[in-house]
């Protein structure tokens, strides 16, 4: 586990110091949700006193008391298991699993119980649990601390899976996730925690299950989510120099998936590139490619291109630059699509 990371000094509500960071937006969303609903409780390893290793829960224990925000033992199955029991009976737990790789010890609880208890109880049980997981690479921290486990969760019926790419979405999606009567796996792109946006919180509401067109374009659609959205946007900007007009769609909700927005964009441009940090085989991009194939086959000029991590364990820092999709690789894929 990494040492605690220092974030900005004050949870910001406005544009001071050049906007709000993604971590601050999450912190504010938690605080607002806790203030709005006393059933919301926040816990996890180092979440209470310290305020989380990424400082997302900073100040919450102080403000809301140790009953509402507290430290748990190192026990991921215990953390998610207790959250299930709490949610069954009227609390709204928001738990933090410190890093992507540490979500696996809780996998059994998430997949076998959290996702299935509504079904098993004939719809009698609400499971309003939010599992926050800092995920993805880019911080030089090798496997366990850099993984992209999104498909494990998206594949599981009964779970909602979202991942914001901007501070304003981080705020809005976390509020929506906490309000949701179903369990939500909330994947936080950890290398974007410190990126700032000029936004005033609370940001406008976003429904779970909606994608966002981040940049309009005519020639190619790039589908990205979480940490890869800024990569796609950078590639789109560079593509202008090549004379290509690139549309960027931030998928942001992996389950449920906004097929409509994605298919509509694919039909408009006729070319699609998907970007993910996760390994290629059976990744979320494969699902996106299939959805595009099913919904826009007659409109396509080129096969869907995938830009992904490699089918290897997530590598140490020195390899990271090769492993992670960057704007150049996205641009190469755009070029391939354009060559058809």
């Amino acid at each position: 586990m990494s040492a605690p990371v220092r974030l900005a000094e004050s949870p910001s509500t406005g544009t001071a110091r050049g906007g709000v960071s993604l971590a601050e937006a999450l912190n504010r969303a938690l605080a607002d949700a806790m203030a709005a609903d006393e059933r919301v409780v926040v816990y996890g390893e180092d979440v209470g006193k310290l305020g989380g290793v990424f400082r997302v829960t900073d100040g919450l224990a102080e403000r809301f008391g140790e009953q509402r925000c507290f430290d748990s033992p190192l026990a991921e199955s215990g953390i998610v298991g207790t959250a299930i029991g709490m949610a069954m009976f009227g609390l709204r737990p928001v738990v933090e699993l410190q890093f992507d790789g540490f979500s696996y010890p809780a996998f059994n609880q998430v997949v076998s119980h959290l996702a299935k208890l509504r079904y098993r109880s004939q719809g009698r049980l609400d499971l309003p649990v939010v599992i926050r997981i800092p995920y993805g690479g880019g911080i030089g921290s090798v496997e366990h601390h850099s993984e992209s486990p999104e498909v494990y969760y998206a594949h599981t019926a009964g779970l909602k899976v979202v991942t914001p790419s901007t501070p304003s979405d981080a705020y809005a999606l976390l509020r929506a996730a906490i309000d949701c009567p179903d369990p939500v796996v909330f994947l936080e792109p950890k290398r974007r925690y410190w990126e700032r946006e000029d936004v005033t919180l609370p940001s406008p509401a976003v429904a779970l299950g909606s994608a966002a067109v981040r940049r309009e374009g005519r020639d190619v659609t790039v589908l990205a989510y979480g940490p890869t959205v800024p990569v796609a946007l950078a590639a789109a900007e560079e593509a202008v120099g090549e004379g290509w007009s690139v549309e960027v769609v931030d998928v942001r909700s992996l389950s449920p998936l906004d097929e409509e927005t994605i298919v509509a964009s694919a039909r408009r441009t006729g070319r699609v590139v998907v970007v993910q940090e996760a390994p290629r085989l059976a990744g979320y991009g494969a699902e996106l490619a299939a959805v595009v194939g099913e919904g826009a086959f007659g409109w396509l000029e080129a096969p869907v291109q995938r830009v992904t991590g490699f089918d290897t364990p997530y590598p140490p820092a020195r390899f990271e630059g090769w492993y992670l999709p960057d704007a150049d690789r996205v641009l190469d894929a755009i070029a391939v699509a354009m060559a058809y």
Partner: protein
């Protein structure tokens, strides 16, 4: 709730009725398996009835039960209607979960039977979470979590005990030690002789081992640990020694167990033993027979109701995946 160990006649009869009901129901369920009316596998508590009955009797109506795949007994002890359970085993529309759960997943929120969990150990943290809710909301409820000896060797057991102890949660962990983890003697795979009790001290808890085939002892223990939980003194871990009369599951004849061991435990049959105790205590045989007849009739009726219920609507498959109903966007 009864804390008095010298239990009255009414309670004793209720204990016997519950044990006899579990026994009769499960024997019938087994017959239905053999005749092909119940599909899939199932795990019976024949021989272990006193534990479910004793706790069921001591629990407050709104206390929660969390059970394993060996869960019929606990659903019955919480008075889930027999026709609903039988229907569930047969996969009929009248089933407790409209046929979607089956033998291993009996769940009835209205009876505070909060589910049968078929991943060993997984429900201990969930029960702890329920207890955390009771503690935070001050409802006075206690979560009771039943599991086998095998569960004491999986991580979730230890995570839950530590969590519950450190947060002083109103939860009772009940290990039904039937000496076998499926086909393997628990002693062969466990570092200590008493799989649950010998771990208690690691969590600052009292080691409690009781005769799980004696309904009076179970009732008395249950009342004590429930009281403790309810009065804010924290969790307990109870190891109740018992033995299953049959195999692990439907497919298992249980041949790996030594004959003398089986004989010893059959002689300690909790149902017969309790019946004798009632007679020795001066209760008239006619009264007991009356209880038994009523149960026999109710089981027959439940079986008939389940048998004549139609299969579930296939459309149900898609329902209750999410709060807004199904998963139509996926299907």
């Amino acid at each position: 709730m009864r804390t008095d160990p010298s239990v009255g006649l009414e309670t004793r009869l209720a204990l016997y009725e519950t044990m006899y009901r579990i026994r009769t129901f499960e024997k019938r369920a087994y017959d239905l398996f053999l005749s092909g009316l119940v599909k899939g596998t199932s795990h019976l508590s024949l021989g272990q009835e006193a534990i479910a009955a004793g706790f069921g009797e001591a629990m407050r109506e709104d206390d929660w039960s969390f059970a394993t795949y060996r869960g019929h007994a606990h659903a019955l002890a919480r008075r889930v209607p027999m026709a609903a359970i039988m229907g569930e085993l047969m996969g009929r529309a009248c089933g407790l979960m409209a046929g979607k759960g089956g033998s291993m997943h009996l769940t009835s929120v209205e009876h505070h039977m909060m589910g049968s969990y078929a991943i060993v150990g997984a429900h201990l943290p969930i029960a702890a979470g329920a207890a955390l809710t009771a503690q935070q909301l001050g409802t006075g409820q206690v979560a009771v979590c039943f599991f086998g000896d095998g569960a004491t060797n999986i991580g979730a057991f230890h995570e839950a005990l530590n969590l519950a102890a450190v947060w002083r949660l109103p939860v009772v962990f009940v290990c039904e030690n039937n000496l076998y983890m499926e086909y393997t003697p628990i002693a062969a795979v466990t570092a200590v002789p008493r799989p649950a009790a010998d771990r208690a001290s690691a969590y600052g808890l009292e080691p409690i081992v009781v005769d799980g085939n004696d309904a009076d002892v179970v009732l008395e223990t249950a009342a004590r640990v429930l009281d403790r939980a309810r009065s804010g003194e924290g969790p307990s871990l109870v190891e109740a020694l018992t033995y299953r009369h049959g195999g692990h599951s439907r497919a298992d004849p249980g041949k790996y167990r030594p004959d003398d061991e089986v004989a010893t435990w059959l002689a300690r049959d909790p149902v017969l033993r309790y019946r004798e105790r009632l007679l020795d205590g001066g209760l008239e045989a006619g009264v007991i027979e009356g209880v038994e007849r009523a149960v026999d009739d109710a089981v027959a009726e439940a079986t008939e109701a389940a048998r004549s219920s139609p299969p579930p609507d296939p459309d149900l498959l898609y329902r209750d995946v999410f709060a807004d109903g199904g998963a139509s966007w996926r299907n």
